[in-house]
């Protein structure tokens, strides 16, 4: 085990895959010599060569297409979209091409591409450096959708994503790159000393089917992913309510057994995400839980999400779900 921040953990996962699978290639904007604007690929070009880690021209649709072509011809590309907000020029290639090729070719061609992208708010990035567009990918059959939250699961999940023979959209909560975030922008710790900053060296993977039970309790189930996992942890502590906190980790396919077991146990559920409410993945959670757990529910399922508005710049703390809003939702579930 080595203490790492999330950037170092992601770098470690990519480094390990580059070292152990000659078909892995890494590209994106600024990822080569510079090592990426968030430094996730720092040092990898020097170590593995410019034919394996290189800068792509500034055309997300172009290098997504390139990744597709490499993928169907035997490589295992890991591409970086610099901010999730910039993924949309590549949307056609991801949704119509990567996601469909296995099925549409009768299984003759497959596309094992990993699309890494920093997502989410809390860095004063305004509406084009803060979005969390996971639901725009969970609605596409053929894609796996992953959202890490800590250095440890960042490494484990990214390793699995790269090894996966299906295309994976891998969201990295950029707010948590250098430390967990508990909802207080004036008090931002680093990962130093955090138990989930202890990351195994070498090959380390976490199944793309499992949620992580972060906290265990009896009276409410809080479901979150990305940065919101840490904000929820704070909210649960503030609420004084005994809660399960489930970090979904993989959204497609999500961990049915973990969610159902917990929801049936507590009978009360709060789903939290940064993305807008309407058609957010929280809606899928709520619908699925009522389908599977209706007779165990003791209270209406709560959703705490970003607003159905563009993500703001200076007012982002009123946009993102705060510990206060989540605490109130947890308490409401206890009042019924």
């Amino acid at each position: 085990m080595t203490e790492m921040n999330m950037i170092q953990a992601l770098n470690s996962a990519i480094d390990d895959r580059l070292s152990n699978d000659e078909n892995v290639v890494v590209f994106g904007e600024d990822v080569g010599f510079f090592g990426g604007v968030f430094r996730v690929t720092d040092g990898l070009q020097k170590k593995h060569g410019a034919h394996r880690v290189f800068d792509a021209p500034l055309a997300e649709g172009g290098f997504a297409a390139m990744a597709f072509g490499m993928g169907i011809n035997g490589l295992r590309p890991v591409m970086e979209i610099q901010f999730a907000d910039y993924i949309f020029p590549a949307y056609d290639q991801i949704v119509n091409e990567m996601a469909k090729i296995r099925h549409r070719s009768g299984g003759e061609f497959t596309c094992p591409v990993t699309v890494r992208t920093p997502a989410g708010g809390g860095i004063r990035g305004g509406h084009h450096h803060s979005q969390s567009p996971e639901a725009q990918f969970t609605h596409t059959p053929g894609l796996k959708v992953v959202y890490c939250s800590t250095p440890r699961n960042a490494k484990g999940l990214l390793t699995s994503a790269i090894e996966c023979n299906d295309p994976v959209i891998f969201f990295e909560p950029k707010r948590c790159y250098r430390g967990p975030f508990y909802g207080d922008p004036h008090n931002v710790p680093t990962w130093k000393g955090h138990p989930d900053a202890e990351v195994p060296e070498g090959n380390y993977s976490i199944s793309l089917e499992e949620a992580n039970l972060v906290m265990e309790g009896n009276d409410c189930t809080v479901i979150a992913w990305g940065t919101m996992v840490h904000v929820c942890k704070q909210a649960i502590e503030d609420s004084g309510v005994s809660c399960d906190l489930l970090d979904l980790q993989t959204l497609v396919p999500w961990d049915r057994d973990a969610v159902v077991t917990s929801a049936k146990k507590t009978g009360r559920v709060v789903v939290v995400h940064e993305a807008p409410k309407t058609s957010g993945f929280g809606g899928e959670m709520v619908a699925s839980i009522q389908e599977r757990c209706f007779y165990h529910l003791e209270a209406p399922i709560e959703r705490v999400t970003g607003w159905d508005t563009p993500f703001p710049h200076t007012t982002e703390w009123d946009y993102m779900p705060s510990p206060e809003r989540i605490t109130e939702a947890i308490r409401r579930t206890q009042e019924v």
Partner: protein, 413 residues
Amino acid sequence: MVGERELETATPFSVGKPPARPDQEPGFAAWPWSPADLTRPDPTTCKAEDTDAHAHGLLRVLDDDDLAKGEWDPSLDDETLLEGLGWMMRLRIFDERMMKMQRTGKLSFYMRSFGEECIAIAQTMALETQDWIFPSYRQPGAQFVRGRSMISMINHCIGNIEDNVKGRQMPVHYTWKEGRFISISSPVGTQFSQAVGVAMASAYKGLDEATITWIGDGASAEGDYHYAINFASTFKPPVILCVVNNQWAISTHANLATGGRNFAARGLAYDIPCLRVDGNDFLALYSATKWARERISAGLGPTHMEIYTYRAGAHSSSDDPSVYRNEDEFKCWPGGDPIERLKNHCIKKGIWSENKHNKLAELLDDEVMTAYKEAVKFGDLANGPYPPASTIFTEVYEEVPWHIQEQREELGK
């Protein structure tokens, strides 16, 4: 192109128009280009700037009398010439029969290569068997050259139990990995930028493999075209990028698709050698593609081509071109008909005759009908058997995840 771009209006902004609408007399200016125009630069040393004349002229081998002339004459042996002619005839007859099947409800949809049979056939013949074919929907002929059985192709078009893509794609969206023929996608142009990636993977693995891909004049407006040419310029992978300028994208004439008059020369600014090739000239296409392949073998990377031709048929079985263009326009195309031209060439060489041609056409028609009858033994469109409903749920992922398994159980099949 010849002459000025024609406009519907120049104000308040330019809106192009085709040379003729249905009620107008069709016609094209005579071509100023002849086979003697262009030299054949050494492919192993040629730079983009050496192809300026090739990008702006028209590479021809067959002259107006269908005789092979000039430096680009590939001097093919008789067997190869007749093989090419045979594949083109086979494709046209196949297309005609399949379109009739569509009209009588035996296929849900169809697209012919009418007038463009030469392109994929000549080019695939000029490539190596290990090279990747990344087609749009009007290059099915490559599969004939690579040896795919007609029955297998018809099985796909019907979508019966033997369809290798299991009834998941519309007809003519072929996939055939064995022949290195990559899956066709309906969103036009996506293959162009993907082909660059396929070629980069070949280069990465150190293999002597080329990738060829095609895009239409209409689809060359898509971002994918521009991604492809820039990425090919940046990474210099072993790819042959072909813009099939067949004048029409459904009803959108090239004059409405771009303000330019030349597609080939776009590559010059990207430092890619460019050729503008007569798309109805089997020998010119064969020769141009061999040249591009020689560049790839020499490690020099991409070539960009405009293949200048005319879409003689409708876009697809769902299209009615009589609404937007004069139906006789294709008969005026200065490039003529690709099959007639190679046929005449072979006759003039003394290796072919009208009689042999007609006999072969009959044999091919029989072959198509026999293949169709064999194919429907595996199911026809009206009655099946179709691939089982379970194929809806398989191969979405490598393994069926729980939520899709639940949905399959809900369907109960």
